[in-house]
Each structure stands twice: as C-alpha cells, then as structure tokens.
C-alpha cells in the first residue's frame, strides 16, 4: 500500500511541477525580473546536472570523467556537433580505462 500511495503521490507531484507555470499560472504573469531570468534556465540547469554527475557520484570524483568532460565541452563548443562531442568524450573515458 505504501508503494502505491508513494507512486501515486510522485506522479501527481511531477505532473503539477510541469503544468504549474505552463497551464495553471502561465509564466507570462510572473514578475518582470523572473521573466528576464528564464532565458538563463537552460545553461544554468544543464551545467548544474553535469557538475552534480561529475562531483556528486557515490563512487567519488573520477578523474577520467573530469578530463573527458573538458574534452567533450571543448569539442562541442568548437564544432557544435553533439554526436562528435559525445563520441570524443566516451572515447576518452574508454582510453583512460585501458591505461
């Protein structure tokens, strides 16, 4: 019963978080300062996810991942190619594992 209630609660919470500022209280009604901040959500949140994955792993910080992340970011910024940058990053981790 606990599992069913927890799952149902999780479904409701995650759905409300998604529709709250789209349907219930559209972001256009938010104060000006909040609307000016919205374009920065993408770079900030995506980089936060990357940093959490690199430095918050239960296994500790893996130097190979950090080096591969620098390479991935550099290639992506230079070439703008997601597939190429991802392949370079995965390749760097694979090579580091072999060394």
């Amino acid at each position: 019963m606990t599992a069913i209630l927890a799952s149902a609660g999780a479904v409701v919470v995650t759905w409300v978080l998604r529709v709250l500022l789209i349907t219930l209280v559209p972001a256009a009604r938010l104060p000006g300062v909040v609307q000016r901040a919205l374009p920065h959500v993408g770079p900030a949140t995506l980089m936060a996810l990357v940093a959490a994955a690199l430095f918050g792993s239960p296994d500790g910080v893996r130097p190979a991942f950090v080096i591969a992340a620098v390479l991935t970011g550099a290639v992506a910024w230079w070439r703008g190619n997601v597939l190429l940058a991802t392949a370079v990053g995965l390749g760097a981790v694979a090579v580091a594992g072999l060394l």
Partner: protein, 175 residues
C-alpha cells in the same frame, strides 16, 4: 528511479513524495522557460503535453529557433516526446537485460549522460550571461555535490538558481 530507491530504503510516503518534489523541482524552471511555446496551444495540449518536459526534451527544443509556430511546435514536441518515451523505456529494459554483461563497458556508458548534456549546452555558451549562468551553476553545484551536505537533487536546484541569478544580474548591468 528515486521512488524505487527510497522505497527500497524503507522511506515513508511523505518522505518519498517530498524527495521526488525536490529532485524534480527543476521541471518548474523548465516549464516556465517553455511556457511561451505552449501559450497559443489548445487546452488538451497545455494540460497533457507538459508530461514530456524532461532534461533531454528541454535541451533539444530550446536549441531550436525554427519551431516557434504553434502547429510546428505541437508536431515537433509530440514526435520528440513520444519517440523519446518509447526509446527511453526500451533502453531501460535493454540495460536491465544486458547491463550485467557489459563489464567495463558499463563504466564508459556511465559517462554518456554527462557527455550528451555537455555537448548540448556548450555550443550555447556564446555570450556573457550564458557563460556566467553555466559557470556559476557548475561551480556551486559541484561544490555542494562534492561536500555531500545536501540531500540528492538539492545541489542541482541551488546551483541552477545561483547561476540564473548571477546571469540575470550580469544581463541587467550589461543592458
């Protein structure tokens, strides 16, 4: 995933739902940023289609400036979200089935989410506010995550908020 992990550790309903809310609070930010694209859509779409708001769909749709037309956005969003749901679920099943056989290859694949998110965000870091947002968010989140002082999901939320605030201040000064 977090629900299963918490239930397995013996957490109660309130703890599970509260943790899920914190971990997924960034969806609130994503939704606010995507709201202009949902604004001229029909009611059913505004109530149901936000279901597809996740990290990859947000990253992909905000990288495009050719899907602003309501009809084009609706088709793009449903195709991308539906496709991603099918592929995501299939790959999770595949991972459960073949994951144990991957051996060291699994360690390499653990880096895949980091690589994909970095590859999607790096090309956008072309102006001062974007660089500020990413740098501050990365530094704050990295420090908080490394310290282990906050519960799971919270470092991302705090770091992202710090990055957004820093970039907004930079933008205002530059303007």
């Amino acid at each position: 995933m977090s629900v299963l992990t918490l239930l397995h550790s013996g957490a109660g309903v309130v703890a599970v739902v509260g943790s899920v809310a914190v971990i997924n609070a960034r969806m609130l930010l994503y939704a606010a940023a995507l709201e202009p694209r949902f604004r001229d859509q029909s009611g059913w779409f505004r109530w149901l289609a936000p279901h597809f708001v996740v990290d990859p769909t947000f990253a992909l749709v905000t990288a495009r400036d050719d899907v602003d037309d309501p009809g084009t956005f609706r088709r793009y969003w449903l195709a991308m979200g539906g496709g991603m749901a099918v592929v995501w679920t299939s790959l999770v099943g595949l991972g459960v089935a073949v994951g144990p056989a991957l051996g060291r290859g699994g360690g390499v694949l653990a880096f895949a989410p980091v690589a994909v998110f970095l590859a999607m965000v790096a090309p956008r870091l072309t102006d001062r506010p974007a660089l500020t947002a990413a740098a501050v968010a990365g530094l704050v989140t990295g420090a908080l995550a490394y310290s282990g002082a906050l519960p799971a999901g919270t470092p991302v939320l705090v770091g992202a908020a710090a990055g957004i605030a820093a970039a907004t201040l930079t933008w205002r000064r530059a303007a």
